[in-house]
Symmetry: C2
Subunit: 219 residues, 2 copies
């Protein structure tokens, strides 16, 4: 179901506005296909951008705090962040250099990240994160104990102020360039999973489960 | 040749320090395998993170300004940025949830982005960017004209203050977890290029060139 949303001045796209999508369902689809985000925050006036994993529940994004210790050191109540998720789908080769492009989908979320303190919410967020990355894995793993839960940080970012951007389809050249003598088209790109590599210390009889053998981000 | 480099307090890794690499050659290899970066900058106290493409020449990174209009509006002389490049190589499934991880390589560059004004440097930077993404394409395309050059922004970021992070290999579980009855291992991930899709308005006789048919990021 389409849920249009009115962009704020901070999330309204100023360039290539025709690629803008302010629809919550589109943003959720992109967020659910990806699992790696880049989190931006500011420390002493300097921006930092750190890759980390995430999960989503309704209008909340949960970010694994592993990579964000510099951010967490600065975190009192909450900290302004930007969370960006980009899915790359192809290289667009036009006749002119100027019209070369990429097919991609991205979501940019502006918001305040807050540490998840409540142990029940934290455990649930870790389950979400795990199931977001590899559905089915949580139940097959040794669950977090109290010490591990304490050593793990999870941040919550509400998905309130956001924009999505989608570029797809063929190259768009200037009309007079269509006679230029070169090939044009799209090179599709996708993330593919290879054969699972067994751990060297597997217990006898353990074989790779289907979620590892058939891993895909298609949703 | 290894070129060790002394991290600054801002680029010294505070967590998982065993994954830190302060070697320029390692950073260059990662930067040269990727072509999508996430650029962080600050506007009105709010961090923004924007995906865009880049190229490298020696110790300079050139960033395509297409996606960064919000940044460019704020750009006077130069603006502090963080440029992060992440290559994802696999999912690491441990016995315990806590020890799940990802195999990846990333580079984080802190620096000041400056607009490339000089038309000769700008054209050369655009050629670098193009050749970085698809080697061989520049010569086959209609070159940028003066109007297009003016409409394109390129930013230069010196690669001076940076860190790289590399996580590879198998899962590392706590010793007592190796008897836990589950599978463990690595699901390798890679970006694969599919068959090139011909543009609907190709000139007769144009076929996909080898750089499109055999596209790979392996360097």
């Amino acid at each position: 179901m389409s849920q249009p949303y009115t962009p704020t001045p901070r999330t309204r796209l100023v360039r290539e506005a025709e690629r803008a999508v302010y629809d919550r369902e589109v943003a959720y689809r992109i967020l659910d296909e990806g699992f790696l985000c880049h989190v931006g925050f500011v420390a002493d006036g300097q921006p930092f951008v750190i890759p980390t994993s995430y999960g989503r529940q309704d209008a909340n994004l949960y970010i694994h705090g592993s990579a964000a210790s510099r951010m967490l050191r600065n975190l009192k109540e909450s900290i302004p962040v930007c969370v960006t998720v980009t899915l790359l789908h192809g290289l667009v080769l036009a006749r002119s250099i100027f019209n070369h492009s990429m097919n991609y989908e991205s979501v940019v979320i502006l918001g305040k990240a807050t540490l998840v303190d409540d142990p029940v919410e934290k455990l649930e967020a870790l389950r979400l994160l795990s199931e977001h990355i590899i559905p089915g894995r949580w139940a097959d793993s040794r669950q977090p104990n109290e010490r591990e839960l304490k050593a793990t940080s999870v941040l919550r970012v509400p998905i309130e102020e956001f924009s999505a951007k989608v570029r797809k389809g063929p190259a768009v050249d200037d009309e007079e360039d269509y006679s230029f003598p070169t090939w044009a088209g799209v090179v599709p790109l996708e993330i593919r999973a290879g054969e699972p590599i067994n751990d060297a210390r597997l217990q006898p009889g353990q074989t790779a489960p289907e979620y590892a053998r058939q891993y895909s981000r298609r949703r």
